[in-house]
Symmetry: C2
């Protein structure tokens, strides 16, 4: 069993992709291209269904973790609005930390190859044996569409995991394991053998979110584990199953490799009794990977000390429409991206800044009002037909999002104009699905309070600005103040584009300019696109750069006189 | 003026040293080997003296910084106990931040080569034109001996600066500047040009300490500047001159290279009106490099958010004496290291743990009491003769240290045994020098409160432990709880050594085993030894690893359709 050797060709290819940042993935991008796809998909569905409670009786998802004191689970499928009926082990927090700490010993002393081999094997087992099971689990917790759950929460998340391993290996190998050091001090010759031990920080706590449970979690876990740490996963109580399946695979593969499975455990909580603050402030917590709300994220960053924190909170993501060669193509791309997974992605655009004078096109200026109406029409066209709507909008993960839409609609009616009213659409396969078409409001920059900061869910704001310069200034200032991951620009003016590139680089959002066509504007390519920049409140977990991995371990040196020296 | 090309051979050689961690330095290790040494040393002394006030009139050290509102300075030479009479610009804090922020623009957009070239030139100018001037400045502020000021605060600090540049370059170059990314989405082919801009965090505040002003400062400044940030230096009010000279060189060279000199400024304060907390919590502070007390260091770590922090506070540094082939040689090395610069180094040993049963030697067990007495005798022998004492002990930087010695002596008399009483020794060149021979106390582990935590200055504790196992357990537990940078072990038992290596790696102190001879036990070699590990309260500034540099900049990506694609 030499997993490192087995997976080395893949790892080497991934290293090249990370260095050159071109398009690559070892995985098929759509379910139909998976090997023996029909059978695999049927098996995955069956495996998912085998987890579910039946006839009102819940089913227990055993993990054999230490300190178990009971069972709990409260997941409800956004597709059926029925409880999944799965219960997970409730374990004493101290028992999980003690077990994790114990498990670190052998793991951290294993070679880099051993650790990387086992972790590549984890990804391989997820891919070969659990991918469609997780796809269904993500659908029925996060509420994503089948295709997105496969791609975004499946293979793309696996890619992000490999990427984290590549960077972890690079950071670990940047430290020489040993050295011989020789120097004279006056007449005396000193020769020392030096050893540089790589020591993990300790126990990492990895939070995962309700709407995208695996995508941040797998790379964070890989980054911590590759560098020798243990990981306690704290899933959002609404989306436990994808991480429970993942944790089980980690535990099985680690045990198979001769390591203590308690290197990876699951700490489930309930919305009534959250564990988050207890885990962050536990004296044994050495690293926190947090994905979730801005509010709790800021609390984590302030209170996790002395633990290291890696965060990805939320995006006040902006669009600037200044001019376009093909305005319809731009609006189609924008409409699609506003709809994908009902804008429940941290990369979904939200605020669209347009000059009052309108948008320049080869056919002349298109008035501000008209641009908003055409964009609204493009969104409406995408969501009118239930089958198409289901593929693109999927479901609404949380009932709170529907409440927010209603509240924002009412506020919008008072201070601005409602361009699109949200409404449930009938899902063709799941008649009870929690759904909504998007809310689109037209406002001016005086209504900043309404749109500044992330409004999680299918809502967007068409914002009237004083000028093209003002649009860019407002948009980038909002990113600086409220955080933002992505930004989008349409302009045919190279000077304006250059200004925008500078402004967004300072504000710290990834800028996509003049993209049209079939690629969703917010598509994030593993091995090529980075995630949050660390320059604004959206967080600092730039999947994956050296900063994401290099402080997860420390160097403990020792030195002694060389044994065979003259 | 292509400074990068000019300094590239040196940088390439330094890269190799950092990778292999062998012994290397481009600089002569003792003053006498400096080119044209006599003249250079005379010139340096003269340059230093030209800074001093005369006849009770102070002299102004002009820096031409923005927002200057006055002058201040309170340095007193530990060698003469007279005021240096130098006044430095007192500037408005906001003006320094505004100017620093403005200066970042062009600097951060310069190429990596341009920045590295200018920074290598800074080090070169310090070495060629200011080294002996700084040597004298360090003597008369920090109180180091001439040779230590030259080596430890001069060339070794320059080496640490180069090391930081090597690692910064490695981190910066790990990000591809651009990429072409191509993929099909259904029938549509997407080709994107991607740009990965490296964006600095912003303004770094670099604290420097009273007793070792340059050694941490130069590498911290280099790490921040190489990654595109600006730096405001906040020197300890007792040791401003070495950093004022440094800051002036940075400003001159940066201006010569066409950059805004306000990239590097000096924020001087007084002990009556400290600026530290204001600087740490300034809204524009993006990075804090802190060297100083544990107490303030912990405050910085807790309160600097959202700024990044790199800290090096203090060492509860431990020695375990279990057995020795040549106990006298071990005690001689230990005695020397206890004396060097009156133990005012963060790497100086303090707590010496010895089994009650004594220390095993080829001649039999040497009783605990006898080991303590022989060590005390070895220290006394080093400090008896004033000329020798002056070379090794140098002076006491702060009057507070003398007060602490007196207080600890009294406490030690009550609860333990005074092995060595501190006393001033007459400095042969400076009759008014503030000096003291070391205090050495013998206690048991019941007196832990007395010795746990750093006691800054020439004090050490010989601690009676229950057994060899207990000695190691106590020592490593004290490091874990109170922090520690260095640790020293004498043992002929390979199993015991192995245990110690594991225990100290977990505790996070660099362990030096069985070293005897002319090298000071706590000698830290640039390009080879790392500094604090990040695993305990002594801090996280491991000069220099990837973690020390890679989060000082962020990656801001942008992407747009490729311009010449099919």
């Amino acid at each position: 069993m030499n997993w490192y050797a087995e997976h080395l060709p893949l790892l080497e290819r991934a290293r090249q992709a990370c260095a050159e940042r071109h398009c690559w993935s070892p995985y098929p991008e759509i379910p139909g291209k998976y090997p023996n796809a029909d059978q695999a998909q049927a098996d995955g569905k069956q495996a998912f269904e085998a987890h579910l409670g039946q006839d009102g009786r819940s089913r227990q998802f055993a993990l054999n973790q230490p300190g178990q004191v009971g069972w709990l689970g409260e997941e409800i499928s956004p597709y059926t609005q029925q409880a999944l009926g799965i219960e997970y082990p409730r374990c004493k927090v101290d028992a999980l930390f003690d077990a994790a700490e114990q498990a670190i010993g052998r793991w951290s002393q294993a070679s880099i190859q051993e650790r990387l081999g086992a972790l590549m094997q984890v990804l391989d087992v997820i891919y070969k044996e659990h991918l469609f099971e997780i796809t269904h689990a993500v659908m029925h917790t996060a509420g994503q569409s089948y295709n997105m759950a496969y791609a975004g929460s499946g293979v793309n998340a696996l890619d992000r995991g490999i990427e984290a391993l590549v960077h972890a290996e690079q950071a670990l190998r940047s430290v020489a394991p040993t050295a011989r050091w020789e120097r004279s001090f006056g007449p005396s010759h000193i020769s020392l053998e030096k050893t540089y031990r790589l020591v993990p920080r300790g126990v990492a706590v990895c939070f995962t979110c309700a709407s995208f449970p695996t995508w941040n979690a797998w790379p964070s876990m890989m980054a911590s584990l590759a560098t020798g740490n243990a990981v306690i996963v704290k899933p959002h109580p609404a989306s436990v199953l994808p991480m429970a399946i993942s944790v089980r695979v980690f535990r099985q593969v680690l045990a198979q490799a001769g390591f203590d499975p308690n290197l990876v455990t699951l700490a489930v909580d309930s919305s009534a009794e959250p564990l988050g603050k207890i885990l962050v402030q536990h004296p044994k917590t050495a690293i926190v990977d947090f994905i979730g709300s801005v509010q709790f994220g800021l609390w984590v960053e302030k209170n996790a000390h002395p633990a290291l924190t890696f965060t990805e909170t939320a995006g006040n993501n902006t669009v600037v429409l200044e001019s376009a060669d093909d305005l319809d193509a731009a609006l189609r791309s924008l409409a699609t991206t506003l709809c994908i997974f009902s804008a429940q992605m941290c990369t979904s655009p939200q605020n669209i800044y347009i000059p009052r004078q309108g948008v320049r096109t080869p056919q002349g200026m298109v008035a501000f009002q008209e641009v908003g109406q055409r964009l609204a029409a493009a969104v409406a066209a995408l969501t009118r037909e239930p089958k198409k709507a289901a593929m693109i909008l999927a479901t609404i993960q949380s009932p709170q999002t529907l409440a927010l839409l209603e509240q924002l609609k009412q506020q919008g009616q008072r201070v601005g104009q409602v361009l699109l009213e949200p409404a449930p659409y009938p899902h063709p396969e799941f008649p009870n699905a929690r759904t909504s078409t998007p809310l689109m409001l037209q406002v001016s920059t005086r209504e900043r309070e309404l749109y500044a900061g992330e409004r999680f869910g299918p809502v967007s704001f068409v914002i009237e600005c004083n000028s093209a310069q003002d649009a860019l200034a407002q948009a980038s200032a909002d990113v600086r103040e409220f955080g933002g991951l992505t930004a989008f620009l349409y302009s045919t003016d190279e000077n304006y584009i250059d200004q925008a590139e500078q402004a967004y680089a300072r504000a710290g959002a990834q800028l996509t300019t003049n993209l049209t066509g079939a690629m969703p504007l917010n598509f994030a390519a593993a091995y090529s696109d980075y995630h949050v920049t660390g320059l604004n409140r959206a967080g600092n977990a730039s999947l994956t750069n050296l900063a994401f991995v290099s402080s997860r371990f420390c160097i403990a040196p020792s030195r002694r006189p060389s044994r065979q020296t003259a």
